[in-house]
Subunit: 113 residues, 4 copies
């Protein structure tokens, strides 16, 4: 994680790309990559989607799209000075309180996260 | 990272939510959270967006949305058996070849990732 | 359609909102609304999703989200001076050539649009 | 509008694509196309984005992406039996009440829609 953040920072610095890496632009880029990820799943049945990683063509594409999403999310978090894992853990703490096991069990309406 | 993945897995197991956590559903949930993140930035000028974390109201909201995005991205990667950081590193290796420093320097058209 | 475009324009003019309605901001707002629409469908099975309009709670929410998406898409097209229906028809002409009936029939890989 | 809806319906019927055109899949496809639209704007300054239609390369691409978004939005609305323009008008009625001219004038926080 830290290495990835550092590498992305060096990558942008070397190429003089900090000027483009504003939070607004990076959020758009993140959304664009998530759009490409969705496109991999959009016409699959739930069953096909569950097996997508065994597909010799779609599997590597999905991995590459996930990689793209992680690249932009990590870069955005760095630019905003947010610790990604800590932010996720904090959210999870809140969700655990909001959806206690005994009440949320098996309920789709509450399947978050 | 590993702890986050494990915690999310236990979270879903305890609540019997694996049934909802299909790749297709998780990709949609990820996109939904990215949409909420975009909403935080949409009316801000680039200057306002750059200062968003100093805003006592918007700052914590942005951090929470980033946390939500990371939660679903981590869960999706786990369900697909993809190592998030490794997938991002692999993408970065490719991009480094495609956009060498000397040619990409300062060029918006190439400001990826 | 024309009435909607005109009404949205008047709406922004009266409120002095043209300054916020840049193409970049409107594209982000559009994506944010699509994210909310996705959230309505994310935990539903395909069967539940097909019946969503009969649900007294989810049905009106889905209609409202679709309305939001249409509002921003119409406004964005107006700001860019693009005729929405004409742009869609043009795309459809191209797709008809790319996916002729005899070759595309029943094929998921080609289920576009 | 009606012609577009009818043409899209015939398009799907002829190709036996109704099976893929579930609300869930179409919502994902819509989000995927919006992601491509965002990608056109992500590295542009607000000024560049405002001039994008004059760009001989980016302009037609933006129009094509807008067309794609409209195609899927129209198809999704048809499958859900929602009148797109009417849904947008209804939303606008609500927003007009929520953001009266005298209070919303020039305020970014309220620049919706």
């Amino acid at each position: 994680m830290d290495l990835l953040t550092a590498r992305l920072r060096a990558f942008a610095d070397e190429r003089d790309w900090q000027q483009f890496h504003t939070p607004k632009n990076l959020a758009m880029a993140l959304a664009g990559e998530v759009g490409e990820l969705l496109a991999e799943f959009q016409w699959l049945t739930p069953e096909q989607a569950a097996e997508v990683m065994s597909d010799p063509e779609a599997g590597p594409r999905v991995k590459a799209e996930i990689g793209d999403v992680m690249v932009y999310l990590t870069r955005l978090a760095d630019v905003l000075d947010i610790d990604l894992v800590e932010a996720a853990m904090t959210k999870l703490d809140e969700v655990a309180v909001r959806y206690p096991v005994d009440r949320a069990k098996g309920s789709a309406a509450k399947a978050r996260p």
